[in-house]
């Protein structure tokens, strides 16, 4: 089982959700997050009012999937989140050792 984590632009989250729904992913978690990568922060100036924006707002998406679904999910997120401009985000994949559905106690792929 894999945990796929993606950091995407806030305005792409609807497309990402849609794309994942289209390929049959039936559960995901999103979190509003802030951070920086290559995009870095910037300074917002508003008539003398100045804000140092150190962290750029993004949305984190997490999806737990079986081994054979992983690539499809990665492709779907990549396609839906891409605008070609700076700050499109990242996707990374980690091994999920165990998954448990708390309500039923199911374990492993059954719990996905």
């Amino acid at each position: 089982m894999k945990l796929i984590t993606a950091i995407v632009k806030p305005h792409r989250i609807e497309e990402v959700k849609e794309a994942l729904r289209d390929i049959g992913v039936n559960g995901l978690t999103t979190t509003d997050v802030e951070g920086f990568g290559r995009q870095r922060g910037h300074t917002e100036v508003y008539r003398g009012a100045e804000y140092q924006v150190d962290f750029v707002p993004k949305v984190k998406v997490e999806v737990l999937v079986s081994e054979d679904e992983a690539q499809g999910v990665i492709d779907a997120i990549e396609k839906a989140a891409r605008t070609g401009k700076i700050g499109d985000g990242k996707i990374w994949v980690t091994e999920a050792e165990q998954v448990i559905r708390i309500r039923t106690g199911e374990r492993g792929p059954d719990a996905l």
Partner: protein, 832 residues
């Protein structure tokens, strides 16, 4: 308390008590066990305990001095179905073994039968000592009621406690106030939380009991010296009855003692209490609204009397008000002086509120606006309007949002409390902006129509009346309300705008691409003025802060501020404003009219795809002619062109449409030059979906009439260039050799990063010559700069070009080294 079968072998009184409690439970439906039922339950328990006590003590040769005392709620003679039975066994300290035996004989049967018993075994001295230390012990003792045994013993416990408390009434009142504050901290409000604590919460049953204790210690009815009004006593009684019913229903439904009403229990309890779904209010919301209405009264009275320590008035001056205008003026005065209304004033205002239907008048409106403007006292003024019933009289639409719960993960308050809090936040932002938020300071300064901003904040969610689609409903209701108030002109307009558009900033900021220049222009076109933008920002912030602790996150703030800053700069640069917005809307309408024969969905798609600058700079008739060239879907290698005679003699208008890619503009410029066509002006646009629509005014370089042959040559070269089958660079170098340059006027290059939030603007001035535009654009594409928008103009022998560019990943060129490189490359190429 516990109902059900008594265990086998239970003493007769307990077995009988179980039977009687079971029949009491059956006598009413679970939603109708109010104070009467609580009293009856208490009496039944009394009877059983007295019997047990008598039986235990009758067998003794020499009975020790004891008294069996009911405490707390049981002491007051009110037991909810699963309330604890709080008992105190007083003794004189002499015969501890016998007392222990008696305790066992009383408690074991109760425990065995499943009752939850709170018990204490103490001497009167110990009781007095404990009451001195702890407020809850003191108040429990005040509620003490003799069930059986030695009355003198009880008096020995209660009298010193009472005497001590009466010696320092103020001290006791202060302890009650502190307790009320602490409970509000710990349990939250019963008056608006969606899962309220019925007993300990602010506005709950414990608050009502506090009035009883205060009265006991003061030793005369609270009404006697004006601490409580007669009407308020009735309100407390009604609230106690209703909250007791809900609490009893909760005990019966859940089968245990619990005082927090959870969401999942609300449907069942609403049903048990007889609430039914209404058109715009589900039964559970009806239940919650009723709880909130009662608890709000209790909460307000507790704030006034217990926490605010309302002062006794020995002979209250009667307050005379002759009409609603007077009543509002009185509240406005109090709000301006940040003082609460006295009991006599409340009586007078309530008399007006209930006397007749109110009609808005100039006097009422002026006083109402004075309340809104009162700054620190404004909220108190609105609460006074609410509690006296004036608010719903003045704004009948308020009834539907008053005490209406909001069932979503974010909202913490009822709709009306949310509105009042958002109003309060806006009012404070206007009078004393938060210096930690520079944007708030600046925007607050932009608001000239303060009344409008205050009204907009107060009414922004007035559409949450259960109809659905609250923004549209709110817009309609706000129009009615403002007309009724006779608040017209700019004030009314700003208020209505805020109600109709209060979601514009948060929705756009969190869901749309703030790097899209047209999106920012569209928002600016909708907002039109910096004042309205400022009002929407202050409202967005107030709205979030009044929703709950988690709504105004740094995440949200960053996005909303970025949007506001970008829209503001669009205003400052004059790219959008009232006039531009009007011109844009007119131009688009005209285009729609001219394209009336085309399928409307495709026309709309066209309007959305094309940049705003296109509609602002190209005449509608020309746009209508472009439609058939631009609109159809375009393949990766497709090139579409259309040409026709231009507006000036011997000029031609040329449109080239192709998928945008780096270098495209230079290929077109090169192909035109190779085909013997000179470029007089050019405008480059890029659609939202990455299609370049480049518009040229050209003329023949060698002959005034441009024949089909030259157009064909142009298209051929361009196609080959796009497909990579020809080196334009080579052919242009070759061509340029034959046309030596004529002028030596200087080349100017300026890089401007302030003109746009989205692009770096590169301005190039150079003497006109063959292939100039090709050279300039080729330089840009060599540096991997993407031209999004361009304006090219020729003035007798001199060309001034402006290019709006971004790098390959969509960034401006903010690095000084990078811009210097562009400048020097441009000069090198143009100066040769």
């Amino acid at each position: 308390m516990s109902v059900g079968e008594a265990p086998a072998g239970a003493p007769a009184p307990i077995a009988r008590l179980k039977d009687e409690l079971a029949s009491l439970e059956r006598a009413y439906s679970p939603g109708h066990h109010g104070l009467w039922s609580a009293r009856r339950r208490s009496e039944l328990v009394d009877a059983a305990l007295i019997e047990l006590y008598d039986a235990a003590t009758s067998t003794w040769d020499r009975a020790p001095r004891t008294a069996l005392v009911a405490l707390g709620g049981y002491g007051r003679g009110a037991l909810s179905p699963h309330s604890d039975v709080d008992l105190l066994l007083l003794h004189d300290g002499a015969e501890t073994a016998a007392v222990a035996a008696l305790t066992e004989q009383l408690l074991y049967p109760l425990w065995d039968a499943g009752f939850t018993v709170g018990h204490a075994v103490r001497t009167p001295a110990e009781t007095v000592q404990l009451a001195a230390e702890r407020l809850d012990a003191a108040t429990a003792t005040l509620d003490g009621r003799l069930l059986a045994g030695d009355a003198d013993l009880l008096a020995a416990a209660i009298d010193p406690v009472l005497t001590r408390l009466r010696d320092d009434v103020d001290g006791f009142a202060e302890r009650l106030a502190n307790d009320a504050r602490d409970r509000r901290e710990r349990f939250g409000s019963t008056a608006y939380l969606l899962e309220p604590e019925l007993k300990e919460g602010g506005g709950g049953l414990r608050d009502i009991h506090a009035f009883g204790w205060l009265q006991t210690v003061r030793d005369r009815p609270l009404e006697d010296d004006g601490v409580l009004r007669a009407a308020e006593r009735d309100q407390l009684a009604a609230a106690e009855e209703f909250l007791t019913r809900v609490r009893s229903a909760l005990h019966l439904e859940s089968g245990r003692r619990t005082d927090r009403l959870l969401r999942e229990q609300q449907d069942d309890i609403a049903d048990a209490m007889g609430f039914r779904d209404e058109t715009r209010l589900i039964a559970a919301d009806g239940l919650m609204r009723a709880i909130f209405e009662h608890a709000r009264v209790v909460d307000a009275l507790t704030e006034d009397v217990i926490i605010g320590r309302r002062h006794p008035e020995r002979a209250p001056d009667p307050v005379k008000l002759s009409n609603a205008g007077d009543a509002l003026a009185l509240i406005a005065d109090a709000a301006e002086h940040v003082r609460p209304l006295s009991p006599a004033e409340l009586d007078a205002v309530e008399a007006i509120a209930s006397s007749a239907e109110l009609e808005w008048s100039d006097a009422i409106r002026d006083a109402f606006l004075r309340i809104l403007r009162a700054g620190a006292g404004a909220s108190d003024g609105l609460h006074a309007l609410d509690r006296t019933g004036l608010l719903v009289q003045l704004i009948p639409e308020w009834v539907d949002v008053r005490c209406r719960p909001q069932r979503d993960p974010y909202h913490r308050y009822t709709v009306d409390v949310h509105l009042l809090r958002a109003f309060d936040r806006t009012s404070r932002a206007l009078s004393a902006p938060d210096t930690d938020d520079p944007l708030e300071v600046v925007t607050a300064g932009h608001i000239r129509e303060r009344d409008g901003a205050l009204l907009g904040a107060l009414l922004h969610d007035i559409g949450k009346n259960g109809e659905g689609g609250h923004v549209a409903v709110g817009d309609r209701l706000a129009a009615t309300i403002l007309a009724r108030m006779d608040v017209e002109g700019p004030t009314g307009e700003l208020a209505r705008f805020m109600v109709a558009e209060h979601l514009l900033l948060p929705d756009t900021a969190t869901r749309r691409d703030l790097g899209d220049d047209d999106l920012i222009l569209d928002v600016a076109a909708r907002v039109e003025t910096p004042e309205r933008l400022a009002a929407l920002y202050l409202l967005a912030k107030a709205d979030a802060l009044a929703t709950g602790p988690s709504a105004w996150t740094p995440w949200r703030q960053t996005l909303i501020r970025e949007l506001v800053a970008k829209v503001q700069r669009v205003f400052e640069r004059g790219e959008m404003g009232v006039e531009v917005a009007e011109r844009l809307a007119d131009a688009i309408d005209m285009v729609r009219e001219l394209l009336v024969g085309e399928p409307p969905p495709e026309v709309e798609r066209f309007v959305l795809r094309m940049p705003r600058s296109y509609f602002l700079s190209v005449p509608p008739e020309q746009i209508a002619r472009h439609y058939s060239t631009i609109e159809p879907d375009l393949g990766r290698h497709d090139v579409r062109t259309s040409s026709r005679p231009g507006s000036r003699l011997d000029t031609y208008e040329l449109l080239v449409v192709a998928a945008d890619r780096p270098g495209l503009l230079s290929w077109i410029a090169g192909a035109l030059s190779l085909a013997g066509l000179s470029i007089l002006t050019a405008q480059v646009f890029t659609t939202e979906d990455g299609v370049a629509a480049d518009l040229f005014e050209v003329q023949g370089a060698f002959e005034p009439i441009v024949g089909e042959e030259r157009w064909r040559e142009f298209r051929g070269v361009l196609r080959k260039a796009i497909e990579g089958r020809v080196s334009l660079e080579h052919r242009m170098t070759e061509k340029r050799r034959h046309y030596p340059e004529r002028s030596d006027t200087p080349v100017t290059v300026a890089v401007d990063n302030d003109a746009s939030d989205f692009f770096t603007v590169i301005e190039v001035g150079a003497p006109d010559r063959v292939g100039l535009l090709y050279d300039i654009t080729r330089t840009l594409s060599d540096m991997e700069l993407d031209v999004h928008l361009a304006k090219v103009a020729t003035y007798t022998d001199r060309v001034i070009d402006a290019f709006y560019v971004r790098d390959s990943v969509g960034r401006k060129l903010e690095d000084a080294q990078q811009t210097a490189k562009v400048e020097s490359a441009m000069r090198a190429r143009l100066e040769g």
